[in-house]
Symmetry: C2
Subunit: 321 residues, 2 copies
């Protein structure tokens, strides 16, 4: 199957929205469709398109995996509520933390999250809902990376625990598949989504679990979540492609109240980049770095040390794991 | 025993040297003395004082523990050779790496090194040499820290594996015990030692093993040694109290030749401080940081990421472990 790319300069967002809404309506007819919203620009745009086309016949779930940033589930549900979209938040924190227990290898962590999401949580919701249509925010880059072997190629319904042989009638709708990220941002803006969504900083699929080196536990996620909130506040005014806080597994010596404290280290990364393929550390001022480090060691329990990454990509990557 | 401090403003280095040389001569008489030289300012000054007083009747050892910086043993032996001091380099690398195998706790690492040094290596040399006098570079701050319980109080001869009950006649000579570091530097300069010794940057007792987080292995020491050489070259012109490279135990994702490389991370620390009690990260330029990171990821095999520490002491400490 050859997908015809819609280049940014050829994209008329209003026409695109009208066309895709019509296509979704025609495909689903009087049936039910289902989708998972993560708050990213792709799944947000798909939710809006599906809602325009199907109204209440689109069932949208937000999977609370326990790995999101501070207040993220509530903020996203409340944002879409304002557009008349009911988002059902599914608390699956236990499932995810159970799957992540004892897992330290980054690839195995990703796999544990993928499996838990598809098989354990979202798969059950799809089967229970009776929906035969699944809306997904796949974009052209995802397809290319699958073909190139960078991301795994997969049969989505098999991942959802639905036997493809018995699954006649199940259908995946991917309205964004002719676009790249820049096109999706333009469509998201035209759909009336706020800048915090259409210009949202990249955030990894495995969420904060990608920001914890070594085993992921509720306590470690809590720590990195606090550091993330502070980092995002402190660097909000900085023109950067992406910034993040990473919790190390290594412990380092610190002093608290005159006593030795073998404590935690947080690493800050802040990237200048246009497309994530190459990147350079943003040249933040030492005033900014000082304040950020000071806030983290003061406000995040257990942290005694903060570093700033000074390596370009390559050989570094933007995310640590 | 009350030690009377010689304050810096009251110190006449030439008189001090003449007096201590006389005292050492009088104490040792026609006997033999022994000392261990590490290349630090304290043990270097003691070696010179002992040499002035005793000539060939002072036996000076340099213990090659395998944890020193690039070419350090050779450089120190060659420097002292120029002063007519024969330094015998004892290769004890295997003893130290054996003692460090599997040890990850920082305190246990220190203890393993202390025990290996005293009991296993230097103790044997003392007993074999027939020397009844041991010259040590103890300074006033060491004594105070022992009394305050920061450093362990210890009976040195017991640590050397010499039974105190049978050890009648063994004597420790501590010619620097009335001085603090600044006084020792002045004396070392007056003794004719080069600036690289009398103004030597602080370097920890456990040497590069203090710069490896987690287990210390010959390979890890090799890696951190290479990073240390580059860091010391790159920051040589910077006015800072101390700078260092630290090898993390955590691995992070990198890219090499277009492929994923789960690699090593080096942390750089560079401190503004006057007395090591408090410190602030030096505000290096990003030009300097960029070049340093670039050299490390290019020249040190396996390293894909370099960070710069931005935390003050406290709550950080100058060294990581």
């Amino acid at each position: 199957m050859q997908i015809k790319e819609i280049k940014l300069e050829d994209l008329n967002p209003q026409n695109f929205i009208a066309e895709k809404t019509k296509e979704i309506s025609a495909t689903v007819g009087q049936g039910l469709a289902i989708n998972a919203l993560s708050g990213g620009v792709d799944s947000s745009a798909v939710t809006m398109l599906g809602h325009k086309a199907l109204g209440k016949r689109l069932k949208t779930y937000f999977i609370q995996n326990g790995l999101m940033r501070q207040d993220e589930p509530q903020q996203i549900a409340s944002l879409f509520k304002g557009f008349g979209v009911d988002v059902e938040v599914i608390d699956a924190q236990e499932n995810f933390f159970k799957a992540l227990k004892g897992v330290t290898d980054p690839e195995e962590k990703r796999e544990a999250i993928t499996q838990t999401f598809y098989k354990d949580v979202f798969g059950k919701l799809v089967r229970k809902s009776g929906a035969k249509y699944l809306l997904q925010g796949t974009i052209l880059t995802d397809v290319e990376e699958t073909v190139a072997g960078i991301k795994r190629q997969h049969n989505v319904f098999e991942q959802l625990g639905i036997d493809p042989k018995q699954a006649f009638g199940y259908k995946i709708i991917e309205p964004l598949v002719e676009l790249r990220k820049d096109g999706v941002r333009k469509v998201a803006q035209a759909l009336g989504l706020p800048e915090s969504v259409y210009n949202r900083m990249p955030f990894p699929g495995p969420a904060l679990s990608a920001r914890v080196i070594g085993e992921v536990t509720p306590q470690k996620i809590k720590t990195v979540r606090q550091a993330t909130t502070i980092t995002e506040e402190a660097l909000a005014g900085v023109r950067a492609f992406q910034y993040m806080a990473i919790l190390h597994n290594d412990r380092v010596t610190g002093i608290r109240d005159g006593k030795r404290d073998f404590g935690l280290q947080i690493e800050i990364r802040c990237w200048d980049s246009t497309d994530a393929r190459v990147g350079k550390p943003t040249r933040l001022t030492f005033e900014t770095l000082d304040k950020l480090a000071q806030r983290i060691v003061t406000e995040v329990p257990g942290v005694v040390s903060v570093t700033y990454n000074i390596t370009p990509k390559p050989p570094s990557t933007l995310e640590a794991v």
